[in-house]
């Protein structure tokens, strides 16, 4: 039987990285290309960035004139009657800002060839709604020029496109859920993005959440039928691991990630306060930036731990690895974490992890100490134990290495291929 042809829709993809999404997409693509014929449409591609056996189509590089000739569908007309759009549409704010209610103008679905929208600006700027809609329009037209068996979408930014393509082609739709509005905005968050996610998941033939945790949110919070939910955990890419010596004597406890609510950075501060009280010979580093950063800097100063609690701001990959090479403990106190790839990376560097139970990675990483995200005492206790107890450290790290053997993109790709088989 010939390999299925998969039309994959992505948003974030290397070399553009914001969070774990791009990394996960890349990892999955590389492994999946062994099982299927894979084409991937992304808003921006770098012609120098090539993935073997994967056809990458960047909308910033596509020829518009040909696309204009393709007929539109009835769905466009329905959607074109939307005159107001109210949404919290900035899931990945990196700077301090307020959430605005956006009132959109009537959305005109004429294809005016505005490809420039993908050439300039970042993926999550003020005009992300426009970008998402334009993306849907263009993907639909591109899809109409091709043959494929399955549509596979990554996260809400591409769901509209996926819905559109399924409507036009009748092919089965798979939604890969790396994150949900529930994680980013909390259980009471509603709006345009939540609607897209909900509509998409109901319309799709299969949902692939990156953890059972996320799967349960899809079921309970979005009323998705659990029979079409098939969790597939992310894998860990091989990485060059090295160890360095610190230039200061204290132990180093690391937090890596966007400094935003869902990652629990305030809890990290609380935990740090507690640990420093009992184990003063420790330093904490919060690497990353986000809307909560400034408040936390002041909070840390207020608790008088600023000289032991360091902020580095956004770090590139090289600097992140430098931190991983000297860290003693890795902490992920996430309030709601669909997976948590950074914990796997820390485990690869042989760093014992203390992770929130409200995370996807806690389902697959047995070699780690766990606690509920709100349980500051327990988290602090775990850290202190790891800092003071060498045999505990060693066994946690050893167990984690064993877990990592199974956490590969190859295994993930196999599971995804199984999902394809079910729906074809």
């Amino acid at each position: 039987m010939r390999k299925p042809r998969v039309l994959m829709l992505g948003w974030e993809f290397p070399p553009i990285i914001n969070g774990g999404l791009g990394v996960a997409c890349l990892g999955l693509c590389k492994a999946l290309s062994q099982h299927v014929e894979l084409s991937m449409i992304i808003p921006k591609s770098d012609p120098n960035y090539v993935v073997n056996n994967v056809e990458l189509i960047g909308l910033n590089n596509v020829d518009v004139e040909n696309l204009k000739k393709i007929r539109t569908s009835k769905y466009y007309k329905e959607f074109a009657h939307v005159t107001t759009v109210e949404a919290n549409i900035f899931p990945y704010e990196t700077a301090e800002s307020d959430f605005d209610i956006i009132k959109g103008k009537s959305i005109d679905f004429r294809l005016d060839g505005n490809m420039n929208i993908f050439k300039v600006g970042d993926l999550y700027g003020d005009d992300v709604i426009n970008k998402v809609i334009e993306y849907a329009k263009f993907c639909a037209r591109i899809a109409m020029t091709r043959e494929f068996d399955i549509i596979h979408c990554h996260d809400w930014m591409t769901f509209l496109a996926g819905i559109e393509i399924k409507a036009l082609s009748g092919k089965p739709l798979v939604l890969h859920v790396h994150s949900l509005d529930y994680d980013r905005g909390g259980p009471d968050s509603r709006g345009w993005v939540y609607d897209i996610e909900r509509w998409g998941m109901h319309y799709a033939d299969a949902i692939i959440p990156v953890s059972r945790y996320t799967g349960s949110i899809a079921k309970n919070h979005y009323d998705v039928d659990e029979r079409k939910i098939f969790p597939v955990h992310n894998g860990a890419d091989p990485v060059h691991v090295f160890h360095d010596t610190k230039d200061f004597p204290e132990k180093l406890v690391l937090f890596l990630g966007r400094v935003t609510g869902q990652k629990g950075p305030e809890y990290f501060l609380d935990i740090a306060s507690k640990v420093i009280e009992h184990a003063p010979n420790s330093r904490f580093v919060m690497a990353g930036t986000g809307d909560k950063l400034r408040g936390l800097i002041e909070s840390g100063a207020y608790r008088q731990i600023g000289n032991k609690f360091h902020f580095t701001g956004f770090l590139n990959k090289e600097k992140v690895h430098k931190l991983l090479s000297i860290a003693d403990v890795y902490v992920m106190p996430s309030v709601s974490e669909p997976f948590g790839l950074s914990a796997l990376e820390a485990a690869q560097f042989g760093i014992p992890c203390v992770i929130s139970k409200q995370s996807g990675v806690s389902e697959v990483l047995y070699g780690a100490l766990k606690a509920d995200f709100w349980d500051v005492d327990k988290m602090a206790g775990h850290i202190i134990s790891l800092l003071q107890n060498d045999s505990l450290r060693e066994s946690v790290v050893k167990d984690a290495f064993r877990d990592l053997e199974n956490l590969t993109w190859e295994k993930a790709a196999e599971k995804v291929a199984d999902v394809y088989k079910r729906i074809l």
């Binding site: 610190k246 230039d247 200061f248 004597p249 330093r283 580093v285 950063l293 400034r294 800097i297 002041e298 909070s299 100063a301 207020y302 008088q304 600023g306 000289n307 032991k308 360091h310 902020f311 580095t312 600097k319 430098k322």
Partner: protein, 401 residues
């Protein structure tokens, strides 16, 4: 017989480099030398050199009737030594005229008075030595960093042997009284307090080039007439940042021409004279009590400590800094001491201020960093590095026992 008393503040901090977490433990040089040198050169060319030249000319032209005062921080003098000896030379020339008085202040332009009297005294004595060395003067009038002042300080300074101290003339402490006379402290009646006439001082220092100001343009003649209007005054204290001349008010605004004509216009009225701060203290009697229970300063619209102590980053930074004093001093290591002392410069904490409104704009103008949060992070990282080293020393000496 009123006196016009000019006092100019001359100061440049050692600005910290963008000291990151990764520097801790391996980079013990906290100052951004390139930046400091660049700024010093810029200010020297725009302000210090031309302004000193002008002052020297005026002193000669008016046959020693034009008399002024400076306070120069110890670290500004260090940077002159290192980068611009010509500026230092021009100050020395001014000192030689006998018409220029130098005040005492803390060597590192620090807030040490608020945290450690011992360190405060050490820095004052260090500063006195430097002033004696270059200008052959022993300071008799004191100004605390940014004119931070309260009753206890006045008493403390008087007991150190100073005859007078400068302060801001704050309206809610003056209660309608004039700043143009000498005051004393309620708890020490020997000290003479010279209060800044902030209206007239700020007319030159801030409003001079502001086209929206009703009195724009300010000519020497106009300003002199305002001074002459205060004919009942003993002393009109015009206290300001020296960078007013050429840096805050650019040459193009005409500030140098203004100053060039001012002494002549003032002296047209035979009752008026120019005096240095010490001369004012000697000449005029104490006329009333200035009761500063709470600490005041000449900074920001609040005229209090909020420029350096209004948020948790600032208070944590300062308390952690001074908490190291004992260990730094017992290490006996001069280099560590100097590094610790340089971190005390008030500007470093000024940059951490998160106040908004117009004062925020003023803070931003002075700050070389993108945000107050950045400045705090660089400081606290540098302090961590210092702490690591101090602890190493403490450990080493502990082992001896």
């Amino acid at each position: 017989m009123p006196a016009v008393c000019f006092y100019f503040q001359v100061h440049q901090p050692y600005r910290l480099k963008q000291y990151s977490f990764f520097n801790i433990g391996n980079d013990h040089n906290y100052s951004d030398e390139r930046l400091n040198k660049e700024i010093l050169n810029k200010v020297a060319d725009k302000c210090y050199i031309p302004a000193n030249k002008l002052m020297l000319e005026l002193i000669k032209k008016f046959n020693k009737q034009f008399r002024i005062s400076y306070s120069i921080s110890g670290i500004a003098l260090e940077q002159f030594e290192k980068y611009r000896p010509d500026v230092l030379e021009s100050f020395i020339e001014l000192a030689r005229t006998g018409c220029v008085e130098f005040l005492g202040e803390t060597y590192y332009h620090s807030l040490s008075y608020l945290y450690s009297k011992e360190e405060f005294v050490r820095q004052i004595q260090l500063h006195e030595k430097k002033i004696k060395h270059y200008f052959n003067q022993k300071p008799v009038v004191f100004r605390n960093t940014e004119l931070i002042y309260n009753n206890d300080l006045a008493d403390f300074i008087q007991k150190m042997g100073y005859k007078a101290i400068l302060s801001e003339g704050v309206d809610n402490l003056l209660h309608g009284r004039t700043p143009n006379q000498i005051y004393t402290a309620p708890n020490n009646r020997k000290i003479k307090c010279l209060l800044k006439n902030y209206r007239l001082s700020d007319d030159i220092a801030f409003r001079f080039s502001n086209r929206d100001w009703p009195e724009y343009p300010l000519t020497a003649q106009k300003f002199a007439s305002w001074l002459h209007d205060a004919h009942a005054a003993d002393t009109i204290n015009l206290f300001m940042d020296y960078e007013t001349f050429g840096e805050h008010q650019w040459k193009e605004t005409g500030i140098f021409e203004f100053m060039a004509h001012l002494p002549g216009e003032v002296l047209k009225n035979k009752d008026f004279s120019f005096k240095t701060v010490g001369e004012v203290a000697d000449e005029y009697p104490i006329k009333d009590i200035y009761d500063a229970h709470a600490t005041i300063s000449w900074a920001d619209s609040e005229r209090d400590l909020s420029a350096w102590l209004s948020n948790s980053m600032q208070s944590e930074s300062l308390s952690k800094l001074y908490a190291l004093e004992e260990d730094v001093k017992s290490s006996g290591n001069k280099e560590l001491m100097e590094r610790w002392a340089k971190l005390q410069t008030s500007d470093i904490f000024y940059y951490m201020c998160t106040k908004y409104w117009s004062d925020g704009v003023v803070h931003k103008y002075f700050s070389p960093y993108n945000s107050p949060y950045d400045s705090y992070i660089y400081f606290i990282n540098a302090l961590a590095d210092l702490e690591v080293e101090v602890n190493k020393h403490a450990l080493a000496t502990a082992r001896v026992f």
